[in-house]
């Protein structure tokens, strides 16, 4: 068991890729890859702290991408799932991918490949859901503001979508669970960490952070939502399958029900 190590990285995706680079380069027998906040090192293996190196990360990124476009997005998406032990799974996945002749033909009957693609799919699904379920509220400083609380860390994935779509308005999407947000200032998108005193649920009570006109539009939307329903076709099961209850508290059309 020579050179068996646990690699410790800073929790960022680039940090993780740097760890992969170093593991490959130094032919390390990796027993685990852990984020530094985790602090649960294996009892018997040595640890090595990895310093994020964008250049090295990039080389791994390109290496995977050259094998398969599908694989690189699987890796990134699955990483953002924040699943316990995801790093080691991804490391194994990347090893398999690099060893394969043709990375385009992923073998779905392999357990790890399947697991990674499932995780990536779950994250992808939530990415789409967030693109759908973000509800902006116009603040008095003319920023369209939204709270979200996704299961996975999808903010990095939805940034481009919102930038393409809302190029002429300032907006801020804030992840309540992870306590950071993305802000578009009419030029580009920046990460912001905020500590909000008040989380803006779509509660009936009004906040003076927003224009009163904001509540008029919420009411109109809420009404609209009700009048499009066809009573003789009601199917609540299908409804909650599409709009899971855990998202309701941020949906203006669900104001009374949430």
């Amino acid at each position: 068991m020579e050179n068996t190590k646990t690699l410790i990285y800073d929790g960022s995706f680039n940090g993780f890729l740097t760890a992969v680079f170093i593991a490959f380069e130094e032919k390390i027998n990796v027993s685990d890859i852990q984020r530094n906040s985790h602090g649960q090192n294996g009892l018997f293996s040595e640890t090595e702290t990895i310093f994020t190196d964008v250049h090295k990360a990039k080389r791994v990124w390109n290496g995977i991408r050259n094998k398969s476009h599908n694989a690189i997005s699987n890796v990134y998406f699955a990483f953002l799932s924040e699943t316990d032990g995801i790093e080691l799974m991804l490391f194994t996945y990347i090893q398999k991918l690099m060893a394969s002749k043709n990375g385009k033909q992923l073998d779905y009957s392999d357990g790890i490949v399947l697991r990674i693609s499932q995780l990536a799919r779950s994250v992808g699904r939530e990415k789409h859901r967030m693109e759908a379920f973000v509800r902006f509220q116009l603040t008095k400083d003319e920023i369209y503001f939204a709270n979200i609380e996704p299961d996975f860390d999808v903010l990095p994935l939805i940034s481009k979508h919102f930038r393409n779509r809302y190029a002429d308005q300032q907006w801020l999407i804030y992840d309540v669970k992870r306590k950071y947000g993305i802000h578009y200032n009419l030029e580009h998108v920046e990460l912001v960490s905020l500590n909000l005193k008040e989380v803006h649920f779509n509660k009936v009570h009004k906040s003076d952070a927003f224009l009163s006109e904001e509540y008029d539009y919420q009411t109109l939307w809420n009404d609209y939502f009700k009048s499009t329903n066809i009573k003789s076709r009601i199917n609540r099961k299908l409804h909650t399958q599409h709009v899971p209850k855990r998202y309701w508290k941020y949906l203006s059309e669900k104001k009374e029900t949430a």
Binding site: L106, L114, Y217
Partner: protein, 420 residues
């Protein structure tokens, strides 16, 4: 903004528009330009779902529910005693923009009752779209419902601003149309459709030579048929749908189970069941025709003028064509794999991918995520035990219904992924 007045109008005019089932906001290629608002490229987004389980992606409203006509199946018809309202052009623009900015919607679906005549009404619909595009620099999705009998010039103009155009044929047979919409002629529908089709073709050709040719209805055209208002068979409906797909290059045909909105001796009475399961079967059939390589006469013909209610159309086809089965998943071509009941296109892709590495057996198939409860009766793989043994079609049907009836009987909506 006079909020109370807008609120009242919105309630009336959204309520009247909800029976139009098309809600798609996908298939356009309008990207955000000049740092404007919105983006209607690639796939559409359902921002919410109604309590009846349908997707909400567009602000779907009528410009007005005043109408000079009296189509029996329509809430807006002149003889119906309902509150009437009409939006001003600017009001629709403001609502659309403000809903869009808050990420409630992908865009606007604007339809209308007919005031005065077709062209007068259509001009107003176009005016809304034009304002959105030119004054608001709006690049979101716009679907305009064309008014039957609109002139060619206006159909041309509409396509310059809209992503999608549609004329709803509503009644699938000409005799049914005469009965229920005596004010309208068949040509009133087909003429605008033909114009749109021709413009789309012309755009495609000119685009090859002149890159800057202005976009014309980039998401194409669609139409809707009401199901169960007159006595037509599923065969009538699907043959007519196939005709519209071919002849007018429809992107989509929608099927809308008739919701009784009036007491009228020509129609099912108020309170009768909306034929949702039938509607779902039609969508499944449509899907098979568009993506699974089925021809309409394989599924519906003189002897089988109606779709089975208890099993989906693919299973029903397979049970009638047992001589094609079992299919060997390790060797069959994609076309045949796609015909195995229970196998969706995604599973087909996965099988083709995975079988490059090894011969697949039941365990592999399960791991890949193939739903075997139906499929297993119709396939063989690299395992000895073949579930079908010497079962005949009747027995297989019985066994499948026993194990899965609860599941797919409760799933009525057309919004579901159909054949997972």
């Amino acid at each position: 903004m006079n909020f109370d007045r807008i609120q009242e109008k919105l309630n009336i005019l959204a309520d009247a528009a909800k029976y139009d089932v098309s809600c798609a906001s996908s298939g356009s290629n309008r990207t955000n330009t000049n740092k404007g608002l919105g983006d209607a490229s690639k796939m559409g987004i359902c921002h919410s779902y109604t309590e009846d389980g349908r997707c909400v992606s567009l602000l779907k409203i009528l410009l007005t529910n005043h109408c000079i006509f009296d189509c029996a199946y329509c809430v807006t018809r002149k003889s119906n005693d309902v509150k009437r309202a009409a939006f001003k052009i600017q009001e629709v623009v403001d609502l659309t923009i403000n809903f869009y900015r808050r990420n409630y919607i992908e865009g606007l679906f604007l339809s209308s009752g007919i005031f005065k005549n077709a062209d007068y009404t259509m001009e107003r619909l176009i005016a809304v779209a034009k304002k959105l595009r030119e004054e608001e620099n709006f690049n979101g999705y716009i679907h305009l419902k064309s008014i039957p009998d609109t002139s060619d010039e206006l159909m041309y103009e509409a396509g310059l601003y809209a992503d999608r155009l549609s004329v709803n044929i509503e009644v699938p047979t000409i005799s049914g149309l005469k009965l229920l919409a005596p004010d309208k002629k068949h040509e009133d529908f087909t003429k605008p459709m033909l114009k749109v089709k021709n413009e789309l073709l012309r755009f495609k050709n000119e685009r090859k030579i002149i890159k800057s040719t202005p976009k014309y209805a980039p998401a194409g055209q669609s139409t809707q048929m009401i199901v169960g208002a007159t006595g037509e068979t599923d065969k009538d409906i699907m043959y007519s749908a196939t005709y519209y797909y071919k002849k007018y290059h429809m992107k989509r045909v929608y099927y809308s189970g008739y919701v009784p909105v009036a007491e009228d001796s020509r129609l099912p009475s108020i309170g009768s069941q909306v034929p949702m399961l039938r509607e779902n079967r039609l969508y499944q059939t449509d899907w098979l025709l568009r993506f699974y390589g089925f021809a309409v006469n394989e599924i519906l013909d003189k002897e089988h003028p109606n779709l089975d209610i208890d099993v989906d159309p693919k299973l029903s086809w397979a049970l009638r064509n047992m001589h094609h089965f079992p299919v060997d998943v390790n060797t069959a071509d994609k076309r045949m794999l796609a015909r195995i009941p229970g196998l969706g296109m995604r599973s087909v892709e996965k099988i083709v991918n995975a079988r490059r590495f090894r011969k697949l057996n039941w365990d592999h198939l399960k791991k890949i995520g193939v739903a075997l409860n139906r499929a297993k009766y119709f396939m063989v793989c690299d395992s000895r035990n073949w579930e079908r043994r010497d079962l005949d079609a009747e027995k297989i049907k019985g066994m499948i219904l026993q194990t899965s009836s609860g599941k797919f009987r409760s799933q009525y909506s057309n919004q579901l992924a159909l054949f997972n």
